[in-house]
Amino acid sequence: MKEYLLETKDLGISFGGLKAVQNLSLKIEKGELYGLIGPNGAGKTTVFNMLTGVYKPTTGSFLLEGKDLTGKAPAEINRLGIARTFQNIRLFSNMTVIDNVLTGLGNSSSCSLFESVFRLPGYWKSESALRQEARELLDVFGLDAERRTLASALPYGKQRKLEIARALATHPKLLLLDEPAAGMNPQETLELTETIKFIKDKFDITVLLIEHDMNLVTGVCDRLTVLNFGTVLAEGNTSDVLHNPEVIKAYLGD
């Protein structure tokens, strides 16, 4: 049997009587750029919330590299290799750009509380290693020059980039991007397409993304799953799925 990076088995969640997501079975291979699309309210972000531990699935399970992560806490899931960005940007707005990334890098340093508080050699060693890595990461996104500004002072497009940088800082195996192109102009979307492809190769990660912008979807995704009213409407190769009459009907109506 083939080993998938992420496998969801009949994943579902209901809020009271509302079945927000039902019987979702995704199989994402390592190194894939996978898209999750669907009309508003289809349950895409709910899937992300389940995969990151914000919601506990009521049915089914999901596995990362064969390891069952269902029901684990968000912080633990992140440490095990799933990182995400948010649809409505959630940066640490009163912290500097570099501090945002350093927070993401926090778990990769073994510096103890005691070492930090008393400035022992372990602190200096880990701190300079973290800063070096943070700046290299910021450089990838062209944010190194603004590393000392407050995150909330960045323009919108850069805030989105910073969110991706911060998520990458946690060294994920799977990166979940929730509408990364929302609010971007076509030029920025084009840049983002290149960036996503670039980071996939550079950091050797798998990307699952939610997106409404079809330019980005067709430009980036290898395969797609379409959700509608919490159920899978179609899945497969990007071009096949986008020409599926059912999908067109769901988006445009009869």
Partner: protein, 384 residues
């Protein structure tokens, strides 16, 4: 990528050490030159010192973690009673006065930290107002427990050792330790996690921050220093009475933090110093019927500070008297830095977190079309 970065082992943010150090040195010189400070001055200085410790430590929870705690006097109470109780016991074993108070401070601090863990486990799941109510209840419960224990002197209070005049020097030494630990904590991985929880708890969780653990770290370190402040208080005033550690005192510490600015350590130091000074002076100067005026004047001062900090009409004045600009200007003058050499001033150095949107600047932006632009247009039209 040719990025080279290094974190040089230097003491960052020496502003606070400088302020406290200068303050301390001035009085130390007066002390040595005049053959000893007056008793009242030494009491005032001790009070200022433990107020600074309380304000800075509460700032860890309120300013950096972003949770409202109204039980800080409760932790101080635990430290004062437990620390001084063991001080009385240890007095026979440890002959040295200094060693005795150090032992008492460690015991008092640890007892307060332990009570912080005990109270933190159930209450740190709560947020906002609920945490405030729970910590408020904790403060009152602790006070009542000590009041009803005969070992701790009951309602009369615990008779403690008075350290004597030089207590203020010890108290300021503790201020330095408190500043050292707090500042180091906030500039480390752990401090960033704590600030991340304040800014966005959901995102912090998603970035792998163990929220419960870091909330506990902040809470316990804050309680530890409150306990030490309690021991200093116990060595200043005997008997230690439970009525001192009431709800009003927790609020008073909170007022220092809020006036100094949330997450602003320099502010906490200044606010604690000024408010304690005003409070002590008003209490000692106003006697008889005038004593009733104390709260009135105190309130007036608070209102003036709040208005000065927030009123849009005073913007110009504030900018003119900006303390941080003054400090950076002083630094540049002292170290002969050319303005071009220095890196762009970090708007986000952690002792300067903007807490309010500058609506004024937003509203005063001129959006009428530029005259020169109009002139340009008409010129080009004429050409055509």
């Amino acid at each position: 990528m040719a990025i080279k970065t290094s974190v040089k082992p230097k003491i960052k943010n020496c502003t606070n050490y400088f302020i406290v150090g200068a303050f301390f040195l001035v009085f130390l010189i007066i002390d040595l030159a005049s053959g000893g400070l007056r008793n009242s001055s030494s009491i005032l200085l001790t009070k200022i010192a433990y107020s600074i410790i309380l304000a800075v430590s509460l700032n860890i929870v309120v300013g950096f973690l972003g949770e409202l705690s109204l039980g800080h006097a409760g932790f101080m109470c635990v430290g004062a009673y437990i620390g001084c109780f063991f001080e009385n016991i240890l007095a026979d074993i440890i002959p040295s006065k200094i060693l005795l108070i150090i032992a008492a401070m460690i015991i008092g601090g640890l007892a307060a930290a332990l009570s912080g863990i005990v109270i933190g486990i159930p209450t740190l799941r709560l947020k906002g107002d609920y945490l405030a109510i729970a910590t408020l209840a904790f403060g009152e419960i602790v006070r009542t427990i000590f009041k009803n224990q005969a070992v701790f002197g009951g309602a009369l209070g615990l008779t403690t050792h008075r350290y004597g005049k030089s207590l203020w020097i010890i108290a300021f030494a503790v201020v330095f330790i408190c500043l050292f630990i707090t500042q180091n904590l906030m500039l480390s991985k752990q401090g960033r996690a704590i600030k991340a929880i304040r800014d966005n708890e959901i995102a912090a969780r998603a970035m792998g921050v163990n929220v419960t653990y870091y909330k506990m770290v902040a809470f316990v370190i804050s309680a530890f220093f409150a306990g030490i402040a309690g021991v200093i208080y116990g060595n200043l005033i005997s008997p230690v009475s439970n009525t001192f550690f009431d709800f009003n005192y927790s609020i008073e510490i909170l007022v220092m933090v809020v006036l100094g600015g949330m997450g602003n350590i320099t502010g906490s130091i200044l606010a604690a110093t000024v408010l304690t000074f005003v409070n002590v002076k008003l209490t000692t100067q106003l006697s008889g019927d005038l004593a009733a005026l104390k709260n009135l004047i105190y309130a007036l001062i608070l209102i003036v500070i709040v208005v000065y900090n927030n009123a849009p009409a005073l913007r110009g004045l504030r900018e003119k008297l900006d303390f941080f600009k003054f400090v950076t200007g002083l630094k540049e003058k002292l170290f002969k830095k050319k303005p071009g050499d220095s890196e762009p001033p970090s708007t986000a150095s952690w002792d300067k977190i903007p807490t309010k949107i500058d609506m004024d600047a937003l509203l005063s932006t001129d959006v009428t079309p530029d005259k020169s632009f109009e002139a340009d247009k008409s010129a080009s039209r004429r050409k055509e």
